[in-house]
Amino acid sequence: MDAHIQIKNLNAYYDDIQALKDVNIELPRKQITVIMGPSGCGKTTLLKTFNRFLELTDKTSITGEVLIDGQNIYERDIDVTEVRKRVGLLAQRPFPLPMSIYENVAYGMHIHRMKNNRNEYRKAVRHYLEVAGLYDEVKTRLTNPATSLSIGQQQRLCLARGLAVEPEIILGDEPTSALDPVSSQHIEGRLLGLKEQYTIVIVTHTLRQAKRLADYVIYMYMGEVVESGPAKEVFNNPKQERTRAYLEGQF
């Protein structure tokens, strides 16, 4: 397997509560990996270690390594903003920045000075809005505030904003949980289309969504990874009793 993200002996703590216990897994390149498990099992915590978001919370600490392309992102001289540029995040709820639709997509590019002139920015914004499947709906009102969009549109805008800084990995923390079914389907469709180019990691607590999206599955319980492997194998033939119980809906 061509592993994009490797996790070695990872432990995470909130204060003195251990949230992740000795996690050792590998996530495949350019596939959708779904992390599933009952709520409170450490899914989101694990996801937050991939873009160093865990350290935004007070009194958290981790030990172990998270390697992206073989490089440990927790090493001392690593630039955390560079990590977050390469690892995009689609949050649970959309958080449009307090600016126009256009500026939202251009925000990250401006920050990293990725383009040379106005025209290049304009082209890039259009491109990423198209990739996120939003362009046709907003092309006549790019200067409107982003908050004027519907919540489903906002989430696609956030996707475009994340893609615009050219990440290799996209993290999704239950990215459809705040959306209506139609918008959810829209986002899921986009994610399936994006896996040609990106490594995607999604946290979800709905089993059906996991089955729809996953190429590779990680099942967690109480801060531990119980089982991980290609989706077909895990769903059809789980090796662990606890995984089987979860899949059969006993939680």
Partner: protein, 286 residues
């Protein structure tokens, strides 16, 4: 992903350093003020300062103390707080249980915030007008009324915030039991809010005892301890102010000691209210 020192990282480090520097300046200034007051006030602080009233020639540097001002301040702030409490508790309860976040409630809150922002010298001038109208002289009563006016918005707004933070469930639970709004106000809200209310009272008392500009107009100053509310009353802030204005170093040193006494009282109230609030919050739903 190795760190390259881009311009934005340099800016980030610089801004953070400036912020920490500002933080140190602000925190340091408190230390500086306390240190100044303590280091100048402590050497001049004697037992007779707090146990005697001014004797003849006190303001020339002779015998005596500022007991008149200490007692006067306690009377003034105590009376003002009591009167303010009589009005602010009903207002705060009415605001919450009857008006809520309605438009009328917002008007009342706006009026309270405006009152809060009016400087004490204006309250003093207003109190002076009122006293003239009623033919009163500078007296304990006048000072108490002026301080009550100053403390009213502080106390009411502080209570309002505390009451507003009350869990909505609690009120609904009481309503579901068939209580009327008055019963909620008097039994449920007050009990839940006791620690916050005590804090609000002490906060207002602290403001009252530290106020100088309003009592200057309304309470006057005297070397005796007032025997009735129609006599003038001395106060600690004015004791500091008048003694500092004397040209004798002996008297100025006593001003420092008086400032120290005032600071100790105010800080004790501030710390005490935290402690009391902590003790009383046993039954409070968090």
């Amino acid at each position: 992903m190795k760190k390259h020192w881009h311009r934005r990282h340099i800016i980030e480090a610089f801004v953070k350093a400036v912020m920490i520097f500002s933080f140190i300046i602000v925190a340091g200034s408190l230390g500086l003020i306390l240190w100044t007051v303590i280091s100048r006030g402590l050497p001049a602080l004697t037992w007779s300062m707090v146990s005697q009233t001014p004797k003849g020639g006190f303001y020339l540097g002779k015998e005596g103390g500022i007991l008149n001002a200490i007692i006067g301040s306690l009377y003034l702030a105590g009376g003002g707080t009591l009167i303010a409490l009589l009005f602010s508790l009903p207002i705060a309860l009415y605001l919450e249980t009857y008006l809520g976040d309605s438009r009328r409630g917002q008007y009342v809150r706006l009026a309270l915030d405006i009152l809060w922002g009016i400087p004490s010298i204006v309250y003093g001038a207003f109190g002076f007008i009122v006293m003239l109208a009623f033919g009163l002289r500078a007296s304990l009563l006048g000072g108490i009324i002026a301080l009550a006016l100053i403390e009213l918005p502080i106390m009411t707004r502080a209570m309002d915030e505390v009451i507003r933070r009350m869990p909505a469930d609690l009120e609904q639970a009481a309503l579901a039991l068939g209580s009327t709004r008055l019963e909620i106000a008097t039994r449920v809200v007050t009990r839940q809010m006791l620690p916050g209310i005590v804090t609000a009272i002490l906060l207002a008392f602290g403001r009252g005892i530290g106020d100088a500009a309003a009592v200057l107009f309304t309470a006057g100053y005297t070397d005796r301890i007032p025997a009735s509310i129609l006599q003038p009353a001395a106060s600690l802030p004015l004791a500091v102010f008048f003694q500092l204005g004397m040209p004798y170093p002996e008297v100025q040193k006593r001003a420092y000691a008086s400032a120290l006494i005032l600071t100790i009282i105010v800080l004790a109230i501030s710390l005490g209210s935290r402690w009391i609030a902590g003790r009383l919050s046993k039954y409070v739903m968090k």
